[in-house]
């Protein structure tokens, strides 16, 4: 579904990968190795070169905004542009099911952004990204600041979406989480991306 060939930026060495519908690849590697840069390059947020296609369509033939609706990206520190939670969602009622699933009450809509904890921000930003209904979702440590119950809720929510055909690239520092959620593993070290096959038995999604 998502094909990446020789994707490179001035910090990232040429990277290639392919991601099928309903597949999740975990991305691991030391801090500062370029994991975030890889996701940003795929989302086309930084200048980059290389060939990226989605279902055979070349990214360069798709306008930037449309591309990012197809290939969503959730950064480790999501940004907010308005004062309250609700203003960041087009239709709050449509988001309600997901909002409740991740443990928020309906009144969350009126909460000021400044009052949210890091974990709450991450979960709400995940809902916001899912509402766009992307085909591919790029997650940058989406459970880094969450308690065990919230981690389980987020993992099960994304697993449901993967089951429905969403393709996911999931950056995590947690080896156990990588094994739980992903079918394959990519390692990023010093700007170099390579697939780790040794410790992962080949499981087709």
């Amino acid at each position: 579904m998502l094909q990446v060939r020789d994707l490179r930026t001035n910090m990232l060495k040429p990277a290639s990968l392919s991601l099928s519908a309903g597949e999740c690849i975990a991305v691991r590697g030391p801090s500062g190795a370029g994991k975030t840069l890889l996701l940003r390059a795929i989302a086309d947020l930084d200048p980059n070169e290389g060939l990226v296609t989605l279902n055979g369509r070349d990214r360069s033939t798709i306008e930037g905004p449309e591309w990012r609706r197809l290939v969503g990206y959730l950064p480790a520190e999501p940004g907010w542009w308005a004062n309250t939670v609700g203003e960041h969602f087009g239709e709050w009622t449509e988001a309600l099911a997901l909002v409740r699933h991740l443990g928020f009450p309906e009144e969350t809509k009126a909460w000021p952004i400044t009052r949210l904890s890091t974990g709450e921000r991450l979960r709400l930003a995940l809902i916001r990204a899912l509402m766009v209904r992307p085909k591919v979702l790029l997650l940058d440590e989406p459970t880094a600041a969450l308690d065990a119950a919230s981690v389980a809720a987020v993992e099960s929510l994304i697993a449901t979406r993967i089951g429905a055909g969403l393709a996911v690239l999931w950056v995590t520092h947690d080896a156990d989480q990588a094994k739980r959620v992903a079918h394959r593993l990519l390692m990023v070290e010093a700007g170099q991306v390579r697939e780790e096959v040794s410790e992962w038995p080949a499981i087709s999604p």
Partner: protein, 269 residues
């Protein structure tokens, strides 16, 4: 006409006592500004003396070429000044080119408009009218553009996450940058709006005061001042809008990305 009181050099020298008094205070309280104060005072005297000479020559020849060259020199100098006032600048020629280009377009357009429709000297480019009008409009335009571009770049840097969050959800660069753009335009226009609001109550504008000291009846001086305020507001608005739009255009790209890599590194503070 010449119902003004001419000053001689001894009277000016006497008034400079206050500058020396300030320098003395700086020494007493170790403010360490006496040096820059004196340098600034000397610069001011030399620059104004030169301007006096230049204007005397310009007014006597009334040549479209020399008037145009003087105007060009003023615009280029204002462009440099506006560029230097910015904390984070656009890289390369954009930094100087964008501010100066917008300033030239806006101030020349507004000045020529005023010369052709309101003041109507003969010939229309008579430097006695063109140069002071351009100077007043340019000075305010420069402040507006410098403030607008400075707010634009610093806010885009500080609010990068919020702008990119919108881009990530499929917003266009125009929509994503709109809040920052509005903020930049507001700060560009605020000084003009504030000065219009308090003119005549809190402050008597320099030009009007000058005309009154020069013997013009207050009612006539007021009319000129109103004209100049309109021109300043128009020129500043036009210049700031084009400069900020140009800045947004340069700091984003056709793939709707935020391109902060097109800014120079922050000044070491």
């Amino acid at each position: 006409m010449a119902s003004y009181i001419a000053l001689n050099y001894w009277e000016l020298a006497a008034a400079s006592v206050f500058v020396f008094m300030n320098a003395g205070l700086s020494v007493i309280f170790s403010l360490r500004v006496h040096r820059s104060l004196l340098v600034a005072a000397i610069r001011m005297v030399v620059q104004l003396a030169l301007v006096g000479l230049v204007l005397t020559t310009l007014f006597s020849v009334v040549s479209p070429v020399w008037t145009g060259l003087a105007a060009l020199g003023m615009v280029l100098f204002a462009g440099r000044e506006a560029t230097q006032r910015q904390e984070r600048r656009l890289s390369g020629w954009w930094s100087y080119g964008l501010g100066t280009g917008c300033m030239m377009m806006a101030s020349v357009l507004v000045t020529v408009f005023a010369l052709l429709t309101a003041v109507r000297p003969n010939p229309w480019y008579d430097p006695r009218y063109a140069i002071p009008l351009l100077g007043m409009i340019l000075g305010n335009c420069m402040t507006g553009i410098a403030l607008g571009l400075d707010t634009l770049t610093t806010s885009l840097v500080s609010r990068r996450a919020s702008v990119e969050a919108q881009l990530m959800l499929g917003a266009t660069r125009r929509d994503a940058a709109a809040p920052v753009m509005r903020e930049a335009l507001r700060s560009a226009l605020m000084p003009t709006i504030n000065s219009m609001a308090v003119t005549g109550v809190v402050s008597l504008p320099g030009m009007m005061t000058g005309q009154i000291l020069g013997g013009v009846p207050p009612a006539e001086a007021v009319k000129y001042q109103i004209l100049v305020m309109f021109l300043i507001a128009g020129g500043t608005g036009l210049g700031a809008v084009t400069a900020v739009l140009g800045g947004v255009y340069r700091l984003t790209d056709g793939r709707h990305r935020l391109r902060l890599d097109r800014l120079t590194a922050p000044k070491a503070s």
